[in-house]
């Protein structure tokens, strides 16, 4: 079986433009050569992917956390391949990843409008940018948290010779970032609603999973079809549990002081960033900014937040509590954890249980023409054709590290 899998995973075209010839991968089409057992396994897998769409619903935090083996989602698939998906449109690009809207190829009629987001990473780029560890963390954390109502669900992951794939629940509303920039800022109820959903995410990640997310910002928060949030991009997420960690990562305006000073950091960095996020929701820009990034960091380490006079006292109090340089005084990190944030006066109107179960309406429900509508996403340049090959030597050295995919 393993040999058969290897044969299947190995030499097939991964180019999305089938018209472009890629000599070394063209030699054989695995379609004709595969045995039928494998074929059936793939068909089954595709069917269950299509079905998952139908009954996706939030699992309770304990269910999400406790049962990774028995969840329908988040597994590493040995049979899926890029050909099982038709690449429809680019939804976003990162430094080394491209996220596509995809449809099941050769889907049954009933499954034809089932769509997903497929995040594709080139192994070469991951290695070149020294992100191997981060990408492994990303896959493993996403697998562990799949099923949480406000985290993008990784339905499955797989790989081929030179690429890594994460099949994600498609989130058609686009980034909170876009809405925020257009509105300039959110009013209090809107900010409270989004902030509250983020609190539930952080509570879950920190207290159930021991995971620090480390890149909170409006760009990484998407809006789903019903107006609820989905956190994406777990590239810096890391299981820290009770050990501090040191690698600097995040986004300049959102970095916590202990990350800048390299004194060791943990989940408390997310509460700092959460304070920055709430500030940015309410004000339209983060509290620490300068054209020179070093000046941003200097302000952060100093940690004096200034508030516009129009900001409510409760909001100021919350943000001050979160953006506290001393982690032993930072709201969310002190005794009581996320509970101290949830019980803060600024959130007094939130029904936390109703929110988790999505019984509360989102303030912005995206206007969509159907499940595959991409109007909320920008246009992206097509992928460049020149690609550094993933050589045999590299494979020998690195494939070991990608074996979880």
């Amino acid at each position: 079986m393993a040999a058969a899998v290897h044969k299947l995973l190995h030499p097939h075209s991964h180019g999305r433009n089938s018209s472009k010839s890629e000599p070394e991968q063209h030699s054989s089409s695995p379609h004709e050569r595969q045995d039928s057992a494998m074929d059936r396994a793939r068909e089954d897998e595709k069917r269950s992917l299509a079905q998952w769409e139908e009954h996706k619903r939030p699992l309770s935090p304990d269910k999400v956390a406790s049962d990774p083996e028995r969840k329908m989602v988040g597994h590493s698939s040995r049979v899926l391949r890029q050909d099982d998906f038709e690449l429809v449109k680019t939804l976003g690009t990162g430094t080394f990843a491209r996220v596509w809207l995809v449809r099941l190829s050769d889907a049954r009629e009933a499954d034809q409008d089932k769509v997903f987001a497929l995040k594709i990473l080139r192994k070469v780029d991951v290695i070149r940018l020294k992100q191997v560890e981060h990408v492994r963390n990303e896959r493993n954390v996403l697998a562990a948290v799949a099923g949480h109502p406000f985290i993008t669900t990784m339905v499955a992951s797989f790989q081929n010779h030179d690429s890594l794939y994460m099949l994600l629940d498609y989130c058609p509303g686009g980034e909170v970032f876009s809405y925020l920039r257009r509105a300039r800022r959110f009013n209090e109820p809107t900010s409270q609603f989004y902030a509250a959903e983020i609190v539930l995410i952080l509570e879950f990640l920190h207290e159930k999973e021991g995971v620090a997310y480390r890149d909170l910002k409006p760009e990484n928060i998407l809006i789903d079809a019903e107006g609820h949030l989905k956190l994406v991009d777990f590239g810096f997420a890391k299981k820290v549990e009770n050990r501090e960690t040191y690698t600097l990562c995040g986004t300049p305006e959102y970095l916590a002081p202990e990350v800048i000073r390299n004194t060791g950091h943990g989940t408390a960095v997310d509460w700092w960033a959460f304070g920055i996020l709430v500030y940015e929701f309410l004000v339209g820009q983060p509290p620490f900014w300068d054209q020179n990034p070093m000046k941003i960091y200097e302000q952060i380490v100093e940690g004096r937040v200034r508030f516009p006079t129009a900001m409510s006292a409760d909001a100021r109090d919350l943000i001050s509590g979160l953006c506290t340089v001393d982690t032993s005084k930072r709201l969310g990190n002190i005794q009581g954890g996320a509970g101290t944030v949830k019980s803060h006066a600024w959130f007094k109107d939130i029904d936390w249980d109703a929110l988790y179960n999505r019984r509360v309406n989102g303030p912005i429900v995206p206007h969509l023409r159907g499940p595959a509508d991409t109007r909320n996403f920008d246009e992206y340049e097509p992928e460049s054709d020149s690609r550094e090959p993933y050589s045999k030597d590299m494979a020998e050295k690195w494939d070991e590290y990608f074996k979880d995919f």
Binding site: Y179, G266, N292, M294, D378
Partner: protein, 460 residues
């Protein structure tokens, strides 16, 4: 004969709402629903009229070029199923820079629009540059500010993430890394110290870290004028301090050094002895924001990011492990979980006292708990003229203060210079709650008579 898709969408949204809200008055509910839809689409339309024009591009001089200029945000409508309208921007918006010293309507007009030519290092736009990736769109509309833009030129683009090479303290134990050391004269040493003292990355270092960092700076002779030490747009790994000589700083508005006579761009400043440049490279691998060229034969000191961050990491790591080890020895805290211990270790504050300091005075109300990190101290009690006990590295005292407000039962006086790690009762309780509860966990009888026995010699 099929219904238009827009219609189906509206109806299914309405259906969802009805299911969710179960209205008593269905007709009124439907009417309200459509009115709200109309209202939010109109608001959305008006907003996009305001914003989607091409002038939305290049709002600010950007030191964080993103791939996603403002003008291309989603164009679709969004509906509001509750009554929240997105706040529209008022004419004459009064949000000024939140970091400015006050919030007058035009606070930033004066402070940030001035050209980047004050000469002091770091005052021009984003020297040190930006982050990984997405550098394809240099800020093209420099100075082309429009009335709607944020008063302090806040960059409205998508922000890219940054990360440094991964640092793993566990592996450092195996390969036994020690920072490089380059000999310097006392003079050089103190000049270097002065040169970096104003930089916040260095001002937080303790004495050991500071000595290691200064020791790691490596001399780099610049033999002649005209040498480009760093080039705008290149990735940066080193931070430099000028020992002697002089350097000019140039910024090309294209974002990188270009070929040809004007390729350097504009001269924005000069650095001489005691000056420094390229400090962003100590954070992560970012493109250089300027080109720095020698104007005569000079000498630099160079420090690379990995060495710098590793020095900080190793000392922080060792200190934390040491604290955790000490904490494990405190019987009062023996039931702490490793997670709790690491939280306390994180919160412990280091203090130094000269020889002969009374760290704790008998009879005072106890507030803090101490661990002796280095040096020695002695315990004195009233009425006894000799020290009753002496303390060394790893010994702890005053922990009963975490438990109750009883006065200190003895005085502790340092006999050498000492370093202690300390935490107050408030800090402890903020992190873990009352100590009584923690003690009760493994031995319920202990909490009943906590006044003493072998817990703390101070109590006797």
């Amino acid at each position: 004969m099929s219904l238009p898709p827009d219609y189906s969408n509206e109806i299914s949204a309405l259906n969802r709402e009805i299911l969710k809200q179960q209205p008593a008055d269905t007709l009124q509910f439907c009417a309200n629903f459509f009115l709200r839809r109309l209202e939010s689409q109109r608001a959305e339309f008006l907003l996009s009229q305001q914003h989607s024009s091409p002038k939305g591009r290049g709002i600010a001089e950007s030191s964080f070029p993103g791939s996603n200029p403002f003008g291309t945000s989603p164009s679709g409508g969004f509906a509001s199923s509750q009554m929240h309208r997105l706040e529209e921007e008022e004419e004459n918006d009064t949000i000024a820079s939140p970091t400015a010293s006050s919030f007058p309507p035009n606070a930033m007009d004066s402070s940030h629009n001035s050209p980047a030519s004050q000469g002091t290092f770091g005052n021009f736009a984003g020297f040190g540059g930006s982050s990984k990736g997405n550098r394809s769109q240099p800020p093209s509309a420099l100075g082309n500010l429009e009335p709607q833009s944020f008063p302090n030129n806040y960059n409205m683009n998508r922000r890219t993430s940054v990360s440094a090479e991964s640092l793993n303290p566990a592996s450092s134990a195996n390969d036994n890394w020690t920072p490089p050391y380059h000999q310097k004269s006392d003079d050089q040493q103190s000049r270097l110290k002065a040169a970096v003292s104003g930089n916040f990355l260095f001002s937080h270092l303790d004495d050991d870290q500071s000595a290691q960092v200064l020791g790691a700076l490596q001399e780099k002779p610049i033999p002649t004028k005209g040498i480009k030490v760093i080039q705008q747009g290149d990735v940066g790994d080193y931070f430099y301090v000028v020992e002697n000589g002089s350097f000019d700083i140039y910024v090309n508005s294209s974002g990188k050094l270009e070929a040809g006579p004007d390729g350097l761009g504009n001269k924005v400043g000069t650095v001489g002895p005691g000056g420094s440049f390229g400090e962003l490279a100590l954070m992560y691998n970012a493109p250089r924001a300027a080109t720095v060229v020698s104007t005569e034969q000079s000498t630099l000191w160079a420090l690379d990011r990995v060495t710098f961050r590793r020095i900080l990491m190793d000392s922080a790591f060792q200190r934390r492990r040491m604290y955790e080890g000490f904490l494990e020895e405190v019987p009062l805290l023996s039931s702490l979980t490793p997670y709790e211990r690491s939280k306390i270790a994180d919160a412990l504050e280091t203090k130094k006292f000269p020889s002969g300091t009374t760290i704790i005075r008998e009879g005072d109300v106890g507030e803090s708990f101490y661990i002796l990190e280095s040096g020695e101290a002695e315990v004195y009690k009233r009425g006894v003229d000799k020290a009753v006990k002496s303390y060394q590295k790893g010994d702890y005292f005053g922990e009963l203060a975490l438990l109750n407000d009883a006065p200190r039962a003895a005085s502790i006086i340092s006999t050498t210079e000492v370093k202690v790690a300390t935490l107050g009762k408030n800090g402890f309780q903020r992190l873990l709650g009352p100590v009584e509860g923690i003690m009760r966990r493994n031995d319920p009888s202990k909490s009943a008579h906590s006044d003493g026995d072998n817990v703390d010699p101070l109590a006797k």
